[in-house]
Symmetry: C2
Subunit: 202 residues, 2 copies
């Protein structure tokens, strides 16, 4: 088994954090996105979408998509549960994980992709759309601050994949000028708590 | 228990198809998106994102996000399995479900949202972004046709949530001028097969 990985991208970090919380050690193999290695035929055979990370199982099967990789490990190594404890909790964690992904992490990535110098000339950019995404992510941080006013973690009492997803999206926000505001004290308290976990450095 | 629903939107259809495949009957309550009922405070208390569908449990808990609602029913009523049969299969189904959602259904919805007369004046539109999404979805239909050349269903041998997600996205493509091409014979064969299931009319 091996995990195709890239240190500087947000999705691979999410899987590394997930594995660290579970205490699972998987050999990593670096694929250099900046050098375009993920667009080469050899990698596209593993994941035709070109995205990282990708998990290679011992029988040669490839599992792409961050949350699918996390699902594999959650099923194989249920403890500690990071994707919910019973049907209702699993549904609630999935809801919060998706909100963190689609309302925060994805707009941050789209903003970066559409406004950053890094992608200029590599990909068609739509600056107006990038700015819409930035504004959307910033509004959602305000909302998340409110959500966190009555709970310790994003999905309730326990640390889950929703927290790892939010941390991944918010920390990547640095490159898109999306930062928690000074006044967002609940969000800042949460950020300090989850950043202090060893998994945050995975 | 009740499901807040809207007949004409794609995500509520996906949950209705999922329930039909499971043989589960849940009382529906209509929320009229066209009349803006999903943006009223009473509904935003159920789902602050304003999206449909939303599942209301008997204890008053609300579960939003289509796949989270499906997860709830998959856990409560495992047969027939629509989200995978063992850890590896669950990961594979999740991977294909996400590809169908993020590579086809979401670009179709974004195209509709950014180019349709329906949203003109209701939401800020970015026509160029809408056209990028249309082109992306059309390219992915080409790819999906190839994927389906060696298998019956999107994730392999069994009908799963990945098929329901693809059907939802592709059928909604009508409003965004994203249609399978005449030459895409594997995609058309698949579309005919899954459309013939009773769940397609749910």
């Amino acid at each position: 088994m091996r995990l195709y990985d890239y240190t500087h991208a947000p999705n691979p970090r999410l899987v590394r954090m997930f594995l660290a919380e579970k205490g699972i050690d998987v050999p990593l193999e670096a694929v250099d996105i900046a050098a375009g290695e993920n667009r080469r035929p050899q990698f596209l055979e593993k994941n035709p979408m070109g995205g990282l990370p990708v998990l290679e199982l011992d029988d040669g099967t490839h599992i792409a998509e961050t949350v699918a990789i996390c699902r594999y490990f959650e099923e194989r190594h249920p403890e500690p549960p990071l994707m919910g404890r019973d049907p209702e909790d699993k549904a609630r964690v999935e809801m919060w994980r998706r909100r963190m992904e689609l309302e925060i992490a994805l707009p941050v990535m789209q903003c970066f992709r559409n406004t950053s110098e890094f992608f200029a000339g590599r990909l068609p950019q739509n600056r107006e759309y990038g700015e819409t995404c930035r504004a959307h992510a910033l509004r959602r941080l305000e909302w998340l601050d409110e959500v966190l006013s009555d709970r310790e973690y994003v999905a309730g009492e326990h640390y889950t994949i929703a927290d790892a997803t939010a941390l991944m999206g918010i920390d990547f926000g640095k490159v898109a000028d999306v930062r928690p505001g000074e006044a967002q004290k609940y969000l800042r308290r949460w950020h300090e708590t989850v950043s202090a976990r060893p998994s945050a450095n995975a």
